[in-house]
Symmetry: D2
Subunit: 386 residues, 4 copies
Amino acid sequence: MRTGVWLVGARGSVATTSIVGALALRAGLTGPTGCVTELPGVRGPALPTFADMILGGHDVVTTPLAKRAESLAAAGVLPGRLVAALSEELAAVERELRPAPSAGTQADRAAAIAHDLTDFRQRHGLPCVVVVNVAATEPAPRPHPGHADPAALRAALAGPDEVLPPSSLYGYAAVTTGCPYVDFTPSTGLRLPALAALADAHRVPYAGHDGKTGETLIKSVLAPMFAMRHLAVRSWSGVNLLGGGDGATLADPAANAAKVRSKQRVLGETLGYLPQGGSRIEYVEELGDFKTAWDLVTFAGFLGTGMRLEFSWHGCDSALAAPLVLDLARLTAAAQATGVAGPLTDLAFFFKDPLGDPSHALADQWARLCALAHRLHSGGADAPPH
Amino acid sequence: MRTGVWLVGARGSVATTSIVGALALRAGLTGPTGCVTELPGVRGPALPTFADMILGGHDVVTTPLAKRAESLAAAGVLPGRLVAALSEELAAVERELRPAPSAGTQADRAAAIAHDLTDFRQRHGLPCVVVVNVAATEPAPRPHPGHADPAALRAALAGPDEVLPPSSLYGYAAVTTGCPYVDFTPSTGLRLPALAALADAHRVPYAGHDGKTGETLIKSVLAPMFAMRHLAVRSWSGVNLLGGGDGATLADPAANAAKVRSKQRVLGETLGYLPQGGSRIEYVEELGDFKTAWDLVTFAGFLGTGMRLEFSWHGCDSALAAPLVLDLARLTAAAQATGVAGPLTDLAFFFKDPLGDPSHALADQWARLCALAHRLHSGGADAPPH
Amino acid sequence: MRTGVWLVGARGSVATTSIVGALALRAGLTGPTGCVTELPGVRGPALPTFADMILGGHDVVTTPLAKRAESLAAAGVLPGRLVAALSEELAAVERELRPAPSAGTQADRAAAIAHDLTDFRQRHGLPCVVVVNVAATEPAPRPHPGHADPAALRAALAGPDEVLPPSSLYGYAAVTTGCPYVDFTPSTGLRLPALAALADAHRVPYAGHDGKTGETLIKSVLAPMFAMRHLAVRSWSGVNLLGGGDGATLADPAANAAKVRSKQRVLGETLGYLPQGGSRIEYVEELGDFKTAWDLVTFAGFLGTGMRLEFSWHGCDSALAAPLVLDLARLTAAAQATGVAGPLTDLAFFFKDPLGDPSHALADQWARLCALAHRLHSGGADAPPH
Amino acid sequence: MRTGVWLVGARGSVATTSIVGALALRAGLTGPTGCVTELPGVRGPALPTFADMILGGHDVVTTPLAKRAESLAAAGVLPGRLVAALSEELAAVERELRPAPSAGTQADRAAAIAHDLTDFRQRHGLPCVVVVNVAATEPAPRPHPGHADPAALRAALAGPDEVLPPSSLYGYAAVTTGCPYVDFTPSTGLRLPALAALADAHRVPYAGHDGKTGETLIKSVLAPMFAMRHLAVRSWSGVNLLGGGDGATLADPAANAAKVRSKQRVLGETLGYLPQGGSRIEYVEELGDFKTAWDLVTFAGFLGTGMRLEFSWHGCDSALAAPLVLDLARLTAAAQATGVAGPLTDLAFFFKDPLGDPSHALADQWARLCALAHRLHSGGADAPPH
């Protein structure tokens, strides 16, 4: 099943790594390390293959994709030989990228986005185009009456206000065009009543929020461990040092707050109480696309004996995120093909701040993912959307 | 249901902490932090309460229990106020401790052990006495023809050879007396054909091996995390620095080898391949009952990008082990009461080197533990012993 | 030489530990671990002995010293046996503690402080009373015209304004009474033109600021290491997790800023450039008197190869600070006895934010400390003040 | 002053990095990061410039230098652009490399080595050729009567025995040809009575042993810190995980023992007592030329309070060692030119296991290095050899 993957923020690190990776997989130049949808329990006939994926996207910047890929290779994120070997394929994707619409009212911009999506779908004859937001994290938007319902929203968008933050405007354009929407960031996306209603009305599946690629991934296995062993976590403090585009964005206190909030959710919901301490994000430009997270957990065992665990995670966000972007595109496309619509709460495995009220324990999330995959592969016959 | 708990190595750190803890729980002086059998999903009516537990045991050393408890309090393992408050109760347990039989053939010693177990059971009118081995780790025994089957074993024990290592001799005495047997150490215990056959013949349940209290506990959640994310673990190296009695014992290369082997099992079986690196144990007397484990994991993500995770675990082995000793006694007693016999493979949650061929992923082990608890609480009606 | 040690903040953790320690040393119940003035190169006849020290102080709180000591023993900072053995001696010190004067103008309060100091000196017949500030960190004060010179200051203090922060008011009372003054905190102390002039006029020696007990201590050896090896430090990021009184105070952003600034000074001045990254303080009440600092250093070697160093420091601030408080009292008293006055820049070894413009490399600071000690022990004959 | 640098193990990682680095410095393509001899206090007119250095060497393997450099570039040790830009210069060095002599008696081999050294010196008209051993670590040799004095050695070398390990045979050839000799490894080198006597007789300076590039470098600043603060180090345990050629060699227990012994020397000699714990080397091939060292230090402060420090060092041995190789060649050549001969104990700054009985504190070693440099730059007039 040929499937479009439309990346919002298409020239960023995550998107570029996703594109190079998809092209390399298609060309047989690399293996699927990091791709969850290639594991037993998840893989299967309902998912579009890597060769089926057609890539495109929007961005506000204009750095050529090839140049971005070369920078990532120089920084050790991508292998230089892949970038060199895929120059023609990258040039082909370059031709599918469009500047982010910026003129007129938000209604005008939404229409321009929708036009680009429709044009992409038609030119390539694609039954499905999944829109994936991998743009920089936004601050939380101010409340606006237009957020309440579709009619109010439509009216407000035609006016002069900035009613929706960019992630939501793309979401609006996606769902009203019938495209599934995945928010890989902590931004607002479809988390407004008007947009959720629109998604339901258009019967599109959607997923989010905030790809789980580092500290929170580890928390989602360590916190259940403490819980299953009945150990009392007294404090859990973390610091995330990151460079790269997202680091600079998160230096903005409002964006930082959104991200930090989603990072702590796993603890309270898994342990049943919130330990002392917090999680902090610091921008250190020198670290580039690599991120170091350090966490200290202090806990009490039997008879109150104090103990501690520390971990340091030195990860490459783009290398961790990119295969998940492809996974989510595959799963969401399969969901749409099978008639599953609405919030895909069974994809909590991928997110720091998942839709719905799911378990934050990774093993539970894995079980739900496998169950969803099973339903998709068996045609969705017995699949209630939930 | 009143239940005897007979500790082999009853004057060691783990046993002393188990005893003080059980007494403190019975007296309402502490809460059940660290006790898995008090968690929703596991707790229930089939388990003996802490007040139901009668404690006794064997040891080769003669340090008074109260003195051992005071040393542990001075070292920060036990709260001094508990030890002071429980002096009478500790004296009562002291009267239930017996010197480890050491005279005569192994048959004579087994008979002396069995006599002590039977005497304990009768004096207290106990329907069940669970024997738990928390003595120091032994080296692997030399092969002996007596290991092959019960008849050969019986004949060999009557001779002059040291046919069985101590953990197995206690296991022999336990099962032939109808007592469930739990091996909390990496020692041999019932892992000899003759002893497994005897346990089956006497219809006693048994569990083991090697309580999972530190580095391996963490491995059992982190390794599944890497597997579920399809990340390629390239190396996993660890070092365990420990003082205390077990540290000194493990300085013996043969014992070290046994422990290290059980520590690595989780990686190979969870990941499906064995990464480079190993796990090493070093004795540092100064650390006392606390243990520091440090692990470095290097792994590859999408397109081969190299990343790494380090963790340091600073735990108190006795404080982690003691509540599990009580948990295992409760569960094993309930199993016997419900008619479940043979190897309790559903207790893999507690062990580094579990019986049978179970998953090493902690979440899977938790699910099996909950299922077992459910069967026990519902009377075992539908419970095939497996 | 009998010497008074007057502690501002005398009921805090650092002061209580200093008092218990001095009493224990006097009674021969402990050794001088952590006391720099007992090392070869520093020790000698000019320093008052521990038996010579008479302790007193001010505090705004009224918790009995014995109770504070018991809390510290319960938290593992002090050995309980020492606190028990020294109850009489602690009661004697308790009688030397005075409530911090709080009524009237700042001139009134300064007079009340001076009265308490003079009374202490006279009752005990002390040739010298050293005032040591170990009270909680203050925010930086607002500029005030009274800070400019002694005359302006005297006039301003008689008015209704809060001209001086507490650390400076104590410093004012100390120097005008002829008492040496040591600021162990990052607060203002004598760092105002009027107060420096007064200290010079009264010929008293003084020292500060901000005792070097953890992360900065390590920086003061690691940063010179990078410099001596010509390695290019690209980023140096740190986080300090601390509970206890100081932690709560430093949660105040203004106080935090003062402390963080003094922590970074060592890097810029040792390396000759300021790497990226910063040092942050987080309050985690659960950690109590213990502090965990974690630092990540990224650096480039030959041909630009990127490397990294991480460290975690788990220290007890009171146990690290208290012996230095005694060291500083001994050295400052000896300085006054030898006729050395003004800022004791040769004591940079003890401080994060030392007076003057000294090297921040610990080895250089050690050499200067030894040279000062040598001058003091040889009677100060050839001793230019600094 | 044109100077030959003859590398034993010339095709290994350290040598290749030294060669590429020297060529890049000569060509102005890189800066001197990591080169101690470019720092104020050490640099000066007595040292040969990078442009003055002519490179050559022996190796037992035959991998082309360019290929080795490309592998190092692929592993992130060298920048690929440098390797590409210097291909002609590398080819020129390739022509100066000779196979390690391997035929005949040890006397024959020594003569062949000496012939290669003399030929190199004459072809390039070099006043001085420094021989630097950067070959793999050897096990300690068996005692042999030929080690006792030059005459016995000469006689023994002519026989069939393997009298000298390779590092010593190269040392023999070097000193008897008048070439200064630097041992950058823990191997034996000139540490045999016969060889030391020969070096003295031929008036050549020499230096060693075992370049200080990681864990020991950090110990040499942290151990003095604990000493200067009078803190009682209770245990110091370390593990070194390393891949690369040296890692494989050190997996040999005998070589490991030599290295570990030199690593611990710094602790005992700096602290005045030997803490518990040890330092261990593990081979993890996957780590390649990078090395991770982790150390845990437990220590007691005032009144016995227990504290701890952990550090992780993730370094690239070749990138750390190569600039020191160039430094040592420059300094040793300058020493010979100034008439300084015998063991250069003032170069302890560079070594884990320095010659003589110097301080192991890095700051002291730095002071001695600066003093030596000063003597060399002022013509050595007032320069007693050490």
